[in-house]
Symmetry: C2
Subunit: 432 residues, 2 copies
């Protein structure tokens, strides 16, 4: 019986697994050095939990099922609802700000496409309990800190930043009714991916008044925060939001990542739940989907039955990122990070048990050590060691008649015979 993997999922053979580990280990390291603590939740939760925040769009993308107890469950398509549930459960005992990260495995029942699979990994960082724009800046900095660490430069990627708070206030000034807002966010969010004509047609379906429509199009053409003011006369609310945005850019400059960032009113984020700054990171070539996205969502905990506490965060999947890193040649080192410290070769099958014992002792001391099951000629074994990029070989050959091991440095090719007792006595010093 021949069985296939399910379409849109991935098999991680050791080379692909090395790439996945390279990406995820980097996410974890960047999170920790930026002061985030790791959390995780279950891979499945109550179906209804995933419908609170994201409405129909997410609900259609769920793998859901009913367990033997009749519970309606779903595999998580995102971890933010879990985060909200977990934080709400312990809100009184968690010191704030809560700076948490997670690297969950997520599943979405989408049609697989380039950069979008039905199963993927996503880096999430969130800061809860801090309403100042400083927390937003830290989320963006941490994200860029990771991308920079893996080798991407300001020539490779751009952080596009806007403010949902400002956009909401502007649309209100233009005269858009509150109940039209959510639909409009979804549409404006798609603008960059739609032909201009299609976009204008869709806007017309949403906003019947021509004057309002033109103002919206003018607004979306604004290249700077200042230009926004030339489209609509700003009131105090817009002013406050744009001041916040200016402070955000100032902080990003202070943090040394200003050259990665620019204002882009076209970054809207489709979901209704954003309340402040929003951002997305793209490859400069604009060939790929967004590498990641995030923003402020001050109502999240409240929507999940908790108190009203501000929050801001980011999510980055491994698929688009992986494509970009591959294209830029930044995955070359991913597979070669794990190399054996020792290979124990034996000239004669009679030395097999000796080789096994030495290998076991090396491993016990924490070193990566290997030997050949089959043995065969020494030359063949050394070739095997070399192919695995092993650092050192221990050879058990004729010298062992005098109790000596031959230790060979595989980098320099140099070798020396040493009494076995002496080898172990000196071992702590030469380890690694």
């Amino acid at each position: 019986m021949k069985i296939q993997p399910v379409k849109g999922t991935r098999d991680f053979y050791p080379p692909e697994m090395a790439v996945r580990n390279f990406i995820i280990d980097g996410w974890k390291a960047a999170s920790v050095r930026n002061g985030f603590a790791e959390y995780d939740g279950p891979i499945f939760e109550y179906l209804k939990m995933f419908q609170i925040k994201s409405g129909d769009e997410i609900a259609e993308q769920l793998f859901n099922f009913t367990d033997r107890g009749g519970r309606a469950l779903a595999i998580r398509p995102e971890i933010t609802p879990t985060l909200a549930r977990m934080v709400n459960q312990k809100i009184n005992s968690l010191p704030r700000p809560i700076k948490w990260f997670s690297v969950p495995r997520l599943c979405r029942a989408e049609r697989p496409q380039k950069g979008r699979l039905r199963e993927f990994f996503q880096w999430n960082i969130d800061i809860i309990g801090e309403g100042e724009v400083l927390a937003d800046a830290e989320v963006i900095f941490t994200t860029v800190d990771y991308l920079r660490e893996v080798g991407l430069t300001a020539d490779d990627i751009v952080v596009k930043i806007s403010s949902r708070k400002m956009l909401a206030a502007l649309l209100r000034l233009i005269g858009i009714a509150p109940d039209q807002m959510d639909g409009l966010y979804g549409l404006l969010d798609k603008r960059a991916r739609l032909p201009g004509e299609t976009f204008e047609k869709m806007i017309a379906e949403n906003v019947s008044d021509k004057a309002k429509r033109e103002k919206i199009l003018d607004l979306m053409g604004a290249g700077t925060i200042e230009e926004v003011g030339s489209v609509v006369e700003l009131d105090a609310e817009v002013q406050e939001a744009s001041d916040e945005l200016r402070r955000l850019f100032e902080l990003l400059d202070t943090m040394g990542v200003g050259r990665f960032c620019r204002f882009d009113i076209g970054v809207v984020r489709g979901l209704a739940y954003y309340t402040g700054m929003v951002f997305e990171i793209y490859d400069r070539g604009d060939q790929l989907r967004a590498i990641c996205g995030g923003g402020r969502f001050d109502n999240l905990l409240r929507d999940f039955g908790g108190p009203s506490i501000p929050a801001t965060g980011m999510g980055m999947g491994d698929c688009v990122l992986g494509i970009l890193l591959e294209e830029k040649g930044l995955l070359k080192d991913a597979a070669t990070t794990r190399r054996p410290d020792y290979f124990v070769a034996y000239a004669d099958r009679a030395f097999l048990d000796k080789a096994i014992g030495i290998t076991a002792k090396l491993r016990k001391s924490g070193l990566a050590a290997d030997f050949s099951y089959k043995g065969g000629g020494l030359k063949k074994q050394l070739k095997e060691a070399s192919a695995a990029n092993t650092k050192n070989c221990i050879i058990i050959g004729q010298e062992y008649d005098n109790g000596e091991l031959v230790v060979k440095d595989m980098t320099t090719g140099g070798q020396e015979a040493i009494l076995e007792d002496k080898f172990w006595a000196e071992f702590q010093g030469r380890k690694g």
Copy 2:
């Protein structure tokens, strides 16, 4: 709307996540130093794939669902079927022996009990393509190598080893028919967990002949490989299997883990698919379920539509292990491994941006650095740094009027003022 997690799943808040990372990082490190390469598959696969190897028992424990394309899928309850599928797909290009490990997240729709949850993590190591008992020894060694590394000794745990091949041959000698074997394995596997009377009653239901039954009970009372011979007269097949077992114990001695291991004919493993040695590891107090189990299964690849290639492996869940490590006080250090390198404190709100810039620069250089959003008194900030077990503090105070930072060693309490330029100039040397 208040939402609960699903019964039998776990929320990993940062302290629990630290324990999970401690366990899984240890599994990964032990695997790598023992020469295993990491792989992983999708969290869900075709339902039918999980029914091949394990029959009804596993099938009843599946979370299964149908996707929009009408495919019958299930969340993986184990990774071995995925391993078989993946190896079969590339069998001609993979160099043998294939030594692979994985630390999959698995789900089973069981009733949650102590040490058994509906979602857990499991360490899997497998060696494919090597029929010699040396591969079995390496699987057991690697398992013990990990358990020893986390602090468990031969006084804490015992590896109980037997041979399914020998048991099968013995039962055949006693006169058990081939079609009775699988049912009997399942029953004998439960012996240690059943009251003697119940066990004997169940045996009677399976084996009607009293003489055969008594021989089985005598056999299960054998304390050594030698004692087996006093119950039934051995034929060549049993002899071969018992010779293999003896060689296995000899190899485990050579590897330095002999004192952890003993023969126990009561270790049967319920599943039909084992073909050689079988083993389970228990706490010496026998208070918990098995910490792990494994054995040789030479027909696995063939059962999944591939060639007939020998294989041996082990699986260890995180639940029983976690309970044991907790009981033995071996999780104390798990939570304290990640400590910040620097905390940047500022005496005055006017220095906030300076603190932000320094923190960002430290993080950019790969160090874990923090600062306080709120500021407040220096004393309060230093207390916060101390509570987080930070190594060093940088204080931006009145000395900064002269361009000096104060660097405080939080371990010794010693501190010095240093010109900021000089601090960065010397930074590579003092890093960490």
